[in-house]
């Protein structure tokens, strides 16, 4: 398999090509087989590669496969090469595994959509681009995958493009991430210019020699700019909540397995640049901490179930950034893995609920519908998987996977001495418990469970992904002791500078429980603290938090309006005024001379006479 792991990204891309070319002429069954099958075979390839890789394991030796030379110019040769090491292996496995389950689920969710084929074509391309990104051994190839992911997110968020709001959300996602992509591209040029290579391993080695200059910091900050855009972190986070306009499986794919974690992967992959620059590391940690807190507060006020999940994704990616910034590299990647499982699970169960409620997103309306019995009954699988996913998101200690990874990040923040970052992370973990179970209790508490019935066919396509992910959301935490050293082989380790007292150890376990308890007090049917709840919802700031701290308005004020104003100013091309003036004067002369040329001989004679008289008068007088 050492030379066949290129099939992992190649199969989804082939699936995309086939579906794009022949999707219109294929039956729904054929599209389903093709779309899900390509990812399925890719998963098999990934598993086989993983088995072989682990078998033939020599510490730290990556598999490198150079497929062909992309281009070579003097001073720079770029090859299309793939690299499998413990980091990309874990990442690729999680991506392809979760993508596969989401594809299976999509086969049910999108069943009957008139553009079934187009949907699966984009989904396959999305997965293929993400796998290219993950397995790339070359920064330019990574960038290709990166842009591919951005393109597909645009196409899929705007999948139901007939709704103008969806198309707007797609354009917003594309443009906002483009800001970050530009920074990434400049960083890429700098790497090529200064190190003369775009191979990740070689560039990482040669940058070490330039430690004393400001170059590593500059490049790391530019890469961070790219990561911030793609991972929806402060200050480029505004596109993510709007990206919920896409179909629910797309949200699951963007927010769990693929797009938003690309930023985390980029920083982990380019860690050689970041460890050389303490400034960049601090920036990563600060961005992560601020984003996780801001997003958690916003999530608390959302009424749309998918927007709540979007903010929670932003917040969890914030944890990953925080972990990368404080040097808990492996813990961050571990959190990526558990997050991929439980967030995909949450989105898919939310999708089941939304579909059962006839596209109703508002949690309070869902509750009303459930109480009045006018909707389809919510299947128990949605209840149980939302509960499992929610518990993992809230990091319920000991039993859920989210707790293991998140606690590692939080303790990493403490032991590396970032106290205020640690405090924000703790506050975030309390809020996570609160907002997750606010939604859970609002939708499910006391509304009763009905018999299993979807009002649709192909129930297994839903049951299997939800069940598998539920299991993984719980058990993924138990492989912590295996996976951390495995990832540690390519990721740097940071020695703790501080001991961990008992209270620091126990706090991240207790705070989610307090949050959940508070959610029960506020939102259960027998809520005691109704006065507090009423106050919180009527608070003057709730609208501000609902709109995600009004970043959209801020950017509208700071960027969009000045831009439009400048656009209006130069709409008439002021510089052209000089040239148009010349044209106007020539036109005037043309008009005068043209009108005087009448062909009437007597007028000419008169004009000659007048002219002569004027000249003679002139000559006599002066």
């Amino acid at each position: 398999m050492e030379n066949l792991f290129f099939l992992i990204p190649a199969l989804p891309i082939l699936g995309f090509i086939a579906l794009a070319l022949f999707g219109r002429r294929m039956s729904a069954g054929a599209i389903r087989t093709m779309g899900v099958g390509s990812i399925g075979f890719s998963l098999l390839c990934a598993l086989a590669s993983a088995g072989q890789f682990l078998n033939a394991f020599q510490a730290g030796r990556p598999w490198v496969q150079t497929l062909w030379q992309w281009f070579a110019v003097p001073g720079l040769a770029v090859s299309v090469s793939l690299k499998l090491d413990s980091l990309s292996l874990i990442m690729a496995l999680v991506v392809v595994f979760v993508s596969f389950l989401i594809h299976v689920y999509s086969a049910w969710y999108m069943d009957g959509d008139e553009e079934y084929g187009r949907f699966f074509a984009w989904m396959n391309l999305f997965t293929g681009a993400m796998l290219t990104l993950v397995l790339a051994g070359d920064i330019l190839l990574l960038y290709l995958g990166w842009e591919g992911v951005g393109l597909c997110s645009y196409l899929l968020i705007g999948f139901w493009y007939k709704e103008p709001a969806n198309a707007r959300a797609a354009i917003k996602a594309f443009i906002v991430t483009r800001v970050g992509d530009t920074a990434f591209l400049i960083g890429l040029f700098l790497i090529a210019l200064k190190t003369g290579t775009l191979d990740i391993a070689q560039a990482s080695t040669s940058i070490g020699a330039m430690k004393a200059s400001g170059l590593p910091t500059l490049i790391a900050m530019l890469l961070l700019g790219g990561a911030v855009g793609k991972s929806a972190q402060l200050p480029l986070q505004t596109w993510l909540p709007d990206a919920m306009a896409g179909p629910t499986p797309v949200s699951a794919l963007i927010h769990a397995a693929t797009m938003v974690t690309a930023g985390v992967y980029l920083i982990a992959r380019m860690n050689a640049f970041f460890v050389l620059s303490p400034v960049a590391m601090e920036a990563v940690a600060a961005i992560g901490a601020l984003t996780l807190f801001l997003a958690a507060v916003s999530a608390l006020f959302q009424t749309d179930i998918k927007r709540m999940l979007a903010y929670s994704t932003m917040s969890q990616i914030g944890y990953m950034f925080l972990g990368l910034g404080v040097g808990a590299w492996s813990a961050s990647l571990f959190h990526f893995m558990t997050h991929a499982f439980f967030k995909a699970l949450l989105f898919m169960s939310a999708g089941v609920i939304i579909k059962a409620m006839h596209e109703e997103h508002d949690i309070f309306k869902i509750r009303k519908k459930l109480l009045s019995g006018t909707a389809f009954p919510v299947p128990p699988i949605a209840f149980w998987s939302f509960l499992t996913g929610g518990a993992a998101l809230a990091a319920l200690p000991f039993i859920t996977s989210g707790a293991y990874s998140k606690d590692m990040i939080i303790s990493g923040a403490w032991t590396s001495g970032h106290v205020w970052v640690w405090a924000l992370a703790l506050a975030g973990s309390f809020l996570t418990g609160l907002y997750t179970f606010r939604v859970f209790f609002t939708v499910f508490a006391g509304t009763g469970q009905s018999v299993y019935s979807f009002g649709g066919k192909r129930n297994l396509l839903v049951l299997i992904p939800l069940a598998v992910l539920s299991v993984f959301s719980v058990v993924a935490g138990y492989i912590k002791s295996n996976i951390i050293p495995f990832l540690g082989m390519v990721l740097p380790a940071v020695a703790p500078v501080k001991g961990e007292p008992f209270i620091v150890y126990i706090a991240p376990m207790l705070l989610p429980l307090i949050g959940i308890a508070l959610a029960w007090l506020l939102y259960s049917p027998r809520a005691k603290a109704t006065a507090l709840k009423a106050w919180a919802e009527a608070a003057p700031l709730s609208g501000f938090f609902l709109r995600g701290w009004d970043f959209d308005r801020l950017y509208d004020f700071l960027i969009i309006r000045p831009y439009k104003f400048a656009g209006r100013l130069i709409q008439t091309d002021p510089v052209d005024l000089i040239y148009s003036l010349i044209a106007v004067i020539s036109g005037l002369f043309h008009f005068v001379l043209g009108t005087s040329q009448t062909g009437k001989i007597r007028l000419y004679a008169a004009l000659i006479g007048i002219g002569t008289a004027i000249i003679i008068t002139w000559a006599v007088l002066f």
């Binding site: 040329q597 009448t598 062909g599 009437k600 001989i601 007597r602 004679a605 008169a606 006479g609």
Partner: protein
């Protein structure tokens, strides 16, 4: 007969010239326009004769001979053009030939 004073003679030449010019401006008929031009030429010739008499030199009379020759040539050409004009436009109105705005 007392000699004609130069001022009076020039006044006559001036009056002739203006009369000829007014004729060119107001008459539409091409033949009259040609005749008015002849009058203007003769006004110029008279001015030359007067100047020659004033300075007692033959140059003025020489110039008059030149003007006569020019006028004769002009009439020869001009009448030919008038005939073609009439043939083409069936009129002698100068404004009739303004179609090309030349």
């Amino acid at each position: 007969m007392a000699p004609v004073s130069i001022d009076n003679g020039l006044m006559v030449a001036w009056a002739l010239f203006v009369l000829g010019f007014i004729g060119v401006l107001v008459r539409r008929d091409l033949v009259f326009v040609l005749m008015s031009i002849e009058v203007m030429l003769n006004a110029a010739g008279l001015a030359f004769i007067l100047a020659g008499a004033k300075w007692g030199k033959p140059d003025g009379q020489v110039m008059f001979i030149f003007i006569l020759a020019t006028a004769a040539a002009e009439v020869a050409l001009g009448l030919g053009l008038v005939l073609r004009f009439h043939h083409k436009f069936k009129t002698l109105d100068t404004d009739a030939a303004s179609k090309m705005r030349g």
